[in-house]
């Protein structure tokens, strides 16, 4: 694999659209961006005069703040639009909002939306670059990029790395983006979760599916816990929180089966006592807060790389 010198698209819609060279370019650029956060003045003039709109149709704290800070560190002008409420007809609202925003001529629109494919729809109608900040149960590309960046910081590589992802696989865009990225970069990915929260055809992502958490953790270099997304569950997926924790919760005892230098990741926000024990979340294995810090560097890299692209 050779590192790309540019991204082919002016949008970041998903990991699915990136090849390994482009993924490496984002990760290399993020390494340079991370250094900016260590300076006395944590700001560079690169995106001066550019306008970025953060359009969030779903609740988000860390992703929204992370994008906002990344934009500010690159000197872009930022606007935040938070659309609350789910009673609106989403397709219409998105098209209408897009038209309104276009009138303000933004250069980049960062979109978080509950419907899978919303960023793709926006990309077809807008002149601005679109960055997917999470769409429904589809993708969350910057999360996967920051996870990969954090893994490389600790393990020095992705190729051959044994990564186990555990939890609510059905509702997780983090899983999809991570599985796509990690398999593309040569990591060995195992997923595990309750059968009711496991979508059909997971193997097509190139991952190994296991139902026993102990077997899945055995020898893992990285254990990534996914949040149980109660807000997306409108049926009887789980008998009880206590049963979920006893079968799939990550405890120090379970973690003992992993590689001795295992790291534990979580995209947040955590449900302590549901998918992860506090002793693990706050333990020496945890790199959860580093993930947050690295998210900033990765988002700066993405915004920088997209700002130079052409009309493709």
């Amino acid at each position: 694999m050779t590192t790309a010198t540019a991204l082919r698209s002016r949008h970041l819609l998903g990991i699915a659209e990136l090849d390994p060279g482009e993924i490496q370019l984002v990760l290399d650029t993020a390494l340079a961006m991370k250094e900016i956060g260590t300076r006395a003045i944590k700001k560079v003039p690169t995106l001066r005069g550019r306008t970025v709109v953060n359009l969030f149709f779903e609740a988000s704290t860390r992703t929204r703040l992370s994008f906002e800070l990344a934009e500010k560190r690159l000197s872009a002008d930022t606007l935040g639009v938070t659309v609350a409420g789910s009673s609106v007809s989403k397709g219409e609202t998105l098209a209408d909002t897009a038209r309104t925003l276009e009138a303000m001529a933004p250069d980049v629109i960062v979109l978080r939306h509950g419907s899978s494919g919303a960023p793709h729809q926006l990309a077809r109608v807008c002149k601005a670059s679109i960055v997917n900040a999470g769409d429904g149960m589809h993708e969350h590309p910057t999360q996967a990029l920051l996870d990969a960046f954090t893994m490389i910081e600790h393990k020095g590589r992705l190729a051959g790395l044994r990564v186990t992802i555990i939890g609510d696989l059905l509702h997780s865009r983090v899983l999809r983006s991570n599985a796509l990225l990690l398999t593309r970069m040569g990591a060995d990915v195992t997923v595990c979760g309750p059968p009711t929260l496991m979508p059909l055809g997971l193997e097509r992502l190139g991952v190994t599916v296991m139902h026993s958490i102990d077997a899945a953790i055995e020898g893992a270099d990285v254990v990534m816990m996914l949040r149980v997304q109660f807000e997306r569950m409108h049926g009887l997926f789980l008998p009880s929180v206590r049963e979920y924790f006893s079968l799939f919760g990550l405890t120090p005892e379970r973690l003992a089966r992993a590689a001795p230098d295992v790291i534990v990741m979580h995209p947040g926000p955590m449900n302590r006592g549901v998918e992860i024990d506090s002793a693990v979340a706050d333990g020496p294995w945890s790199v959860i807060l580093e993930q947050v810090a690295n998210g900033l560097a990765v988002r700066m890299a993405v915004l920088y790389l997209l700002a130079g692209e052409g009309d493709t």
Partner: protein, 181 residues
């Protein structure tokens, strides 16, 4: 067909850097508060060689850093259809506050790179002074910037290009002036 001429060979590059090291010692009463910062890519190995020379001649350990100026370029966002230049890491593992900084680059041309480097440096702190070291000054300045230490003045036309090659990056030391075909 392009014509090219080697204006400095390995020996001349080495002697020029040795001379600059002596000039640095001559112009700075003490090296205690001096630091070298090389501009990526080829300013970095030149800064490292100057540090080694200063150690040899004066026994001084001069801290050395690397500066990437990509994010400060004045032409960065002006070309809508070109890809973004690749950003490399800046590494300045010391405080520049109150220090005399020797900014090092391979070729001084329009002065725009140095303008960007000055902006970048100021974001790291407030040096007491900044001096400029270049291996080649090829003229054609577009900004009021001049070098304090110059390896060699090479008169060129704007159509020519100057290629500095260094052992650490290119496998050999030489400076070539190439005419556009």
């Amino acid at each position: 067909m392009s014509r090219s001429a080697i204006v400095m060979d390995a020996d001349r590059v080495g002697r020029s850097l040795a001379r600059i090291a002596h000039e640095i010692i001559e112009h700075n009463r003490t090296l205690d508060d001096v630091a070298l910062v090389g501009i990526r890519a080829r300013g970095v190995p030149i800064a490292a060689r100057l540090a080694a020379r200063l150690k040899e001649i004066a026994g001084a350990d001069v801290p050395t850093g690397a500066l990437d100026i990509t994010l400060y370029r004045d032409d960065l966002m002006r070309h809508q259809v070109s890809p973004q230049p690749v950003v490399r890491r800046t590494e300045i593992p010391f405080s520049i506050d109150g220090r005399r900084i020797l900014l090092v680059d391979d070729v001084l041309y329009t002065g725009r790179t140095i303008r960007a480097a000055l902006d970048a440096l100021i974001d790291f702190g407030r040096p007491s002074a900044i001096q400029l070291v270049v291996l080649i000054d090829r003229g054609h300045r577009e900004l009021p910037i001049r070098a304090d230490y110059v390896g060699k003045n090479v008169p060129t036309s704007r159509q020519q290009s100057v290629n500095v090659r260094l052992m650490e990056i290119d496998g050999r030391d030489e400076v070539e002036v190439e005419a556009e075909s």
